[in-house]
């Protein structure tokens, strides 16, 4: 029988890893390299690109306050979305993790249900909910609370609502995994030592669920900061996020070099965040959430 000790066959781990590494190389590393090279090219007036090593795009992206302001707005939207997801998501995650309901798997299935519908359709559904002739306005007028429809759509809050709708399951899943893994005896021990229910939650459950909260927050933040569809569908004229700048540069202005530089800025920023998270918390918590 062949030995399983890596020392006897040092190439075995690499052989086993090679399909994954090849996929990452072909689908991630090489495309990013292409984008990096493109970011140093220049666009001509006709839309054609001039190859070379020019720092113009980077100088523009890094010094122009327009890009900085949109980036800060993007980070604000991502932060607000993450906080709301954490606050709103904790309760259902706690409930699912602690319930004695025998069909717990069914509750988890309900969490996954939104993923069966296209993200764009889910986003557009808010137009029928918050629109002038949407469900909320019709209901408010029907009960007599308002005489005229309220203008609720097409602002940064509806962008946040759309993002929370999209990202909440990610937060709940991460929190659930973390809460489910907490030894219930610890809570019982805290209670037997005189803690109230709230104290036991604050001193035991909450601290032990922080890794899940951090993992969910990282996912929500990164996905929210990179979003492009939600502000397009639910945002007003001035609610563009950073990914919309990339779209404008590449699609509208046909300026692929500038678009490449912009997308790399976002990639570096969010990649840095992931690296920091990995350094201080570790990626294992996220891996647990996905099974």
């Amino acid at each position: 029988m062949a030995s399983l000790d890596p020392k006897d066959n040092p190439s075995r781990p690499w052989t086993l890893l090679s399909p994954a590494l090849t996929a990452i190389l072909l689908l991630l590393v090489i495309p990013v390299c292409f984008i990096a090279v493109y970011s140093f090219w220049l666009r001509t007036a006709t839309g054609a690109d001039v190859a070379g090593f020019h720092l113009d795009n980077w100088a523009e992206v890094l010094t122009d306050s327009f890009y900085r302001d949109i980036l800060l707005f993007t980070l604000w939207i991502a932060f607000a979305t993450t906080v709301i997801c954490a606050l709103v998501g904790y309760v259902p995650a706690y409930f699912i993790a602690t319930t004695q309901y025998r069909h717990k798997a069914f509750l988890l299935l309900l969490l996954m249900l939104p993923f069966w519908i296209s993200y764009i359709i889910r986003t557009m559904s808010w137009i029928n909910i918050l629109g002038v002739s949407g469900v909320v306005n019709v209901a408010l007028q029907w009960v007599g609370l308002t005489g005229e429809p309220l203008q609720m759509l097409y602002n940064q809050w509806t962008v946040i609502v759309g993002l929370v709708h999209f990202l909440l399951p990610f937060m709940i899943l991460n929190l659930y995994v973390s809460l489910y893994g907490i030894d219930r005896n610890l809570v019982d021990a805290a209670r037997s030592l005189g803690c109230t229910g709230w104290q036991a939650f604050r001193e035991v459950t909450l601290p032990l669920s922080l890794p899940g909260l951090a993992a969910g927050s990282l996912l929500c933040f990164v996905l929210a900061a990179g979003t492009y569809i939600t502000p397009l569908v639910l945002g007003g004229p001035t609610d563009a996020m950073f990914a919309n700048l990339v779209f404008d540069a590449i699609i509208t202005q046909l300026n692929w070099p500038l678009g490449s530089a912009l997308s790399l800025v976002l990639l570096i920023l969010l990649g840095g965040l992931v690296i920091l998270y990995n350094r201080f918390v570790g990626m294992s918590q996220i891996a647990k959430s996905f099974g």
């Binding site: 002739s133 759509l153 097409y154 046909l254 692929w256």
Partner: protein, 384 residues
Amino acid sequence: MDDTKRYERLLDRYRNGDLDRRTFLGLIGAAGVAAGVTGGPFSALKRQALAATPDQVRFDGWGGVVSEAFRKHAFEPYTAKTGIDVVDGTFGGADEYLARVKASQPGEFNIAHLSGVFDYVRYDGLDLSTSLNEDNIPNLANVITALQDVLRSVTGGSLSAVPYDYGTTSLAYNRKYISDEEMREKGARILIDPAYEGKIGGWGEWKTRVWYGALQTGQNPNGIEDMDAVWDAIRQHRDLALKYWGSGAELMSLLAEEEIYVTEGWSGRVKALQDQGHDIGYYDPPGGLGWQECLFVIKGSPMAACEELLNFMLEPEVAIAVAEGQNYPPSLDPTKVALSDQVKALPAFDPSGTLEGLNFFDPPYWNSKEAEWSKTFGRVQKGY
């Protein structure tokens, strides 16, 4: 017939000294794999990779009712008659489509339903134009001369596209809230009227915004003298607008749901709303914007097959059926071809066949401003 093959172009470049031998052989090998001649997994993709082969032509259009009209009235009868399949694709916008074409291999995309002369110039500027053999398109003789001339002036007398339809981007308004008299009185300036703050819409496209900004500041859109005033008008519109719309479907939804009361809009889409029973008015203000759409043959396409399809699409009964389906008048000259009453009732229809009453983008002027104005609009649009 100009069935330009990928390897023939590579050979040309190699012979011209543009490629070294190693690169040439490498690209030939890659082309072979993509074409499936070497077998393996890529051979399954052969059909898609060779959309330019004479037994099929790829057509890309705007989708929705326009594509349905093309499919029903043009492609299916054309395939039945000629045996040539039409691979029917769609795009959401001209910019997005050009980005896809730019990223593609020659021959991957063949005919596109492009909007306006502006795109014709852009494609020509990117060396994507062809030269149609007009002998293969006898129905071109029925097409309004003014629509052809503006294209010929770009490509040195020849054509890389046939004009197919035209329309206007004028003011669409909800009659429940805005009367016809008020619209006539205010014209384009109604889009910057604070009385309708939060109920104004607009197409988030830089050319249209600049055109209407020029009208709102009393300037000739094809010769703007005070650009700062135009940007200020665009900012004013932005601050009053509820939303920039990005597609015909979104335009129709915003108007139909009464999210907005007034916007500029595409004549065909507004007609569709009116046909659905919505009380939407449509007004061409002085200097209102006209445009034409053409069927553009992209470089590297199987020319004979494309020309045959273009000629088929210009057959009066086909062009009229498509026009009735998409609500835009066909490019056929009403003085040469008998058009249906339904077509004659379409908004923007010009019975004279001269189109002298419409205002179009001046291609040299607008294309020379594209890089600067599209970028500036991208900033103004986002609050700057």
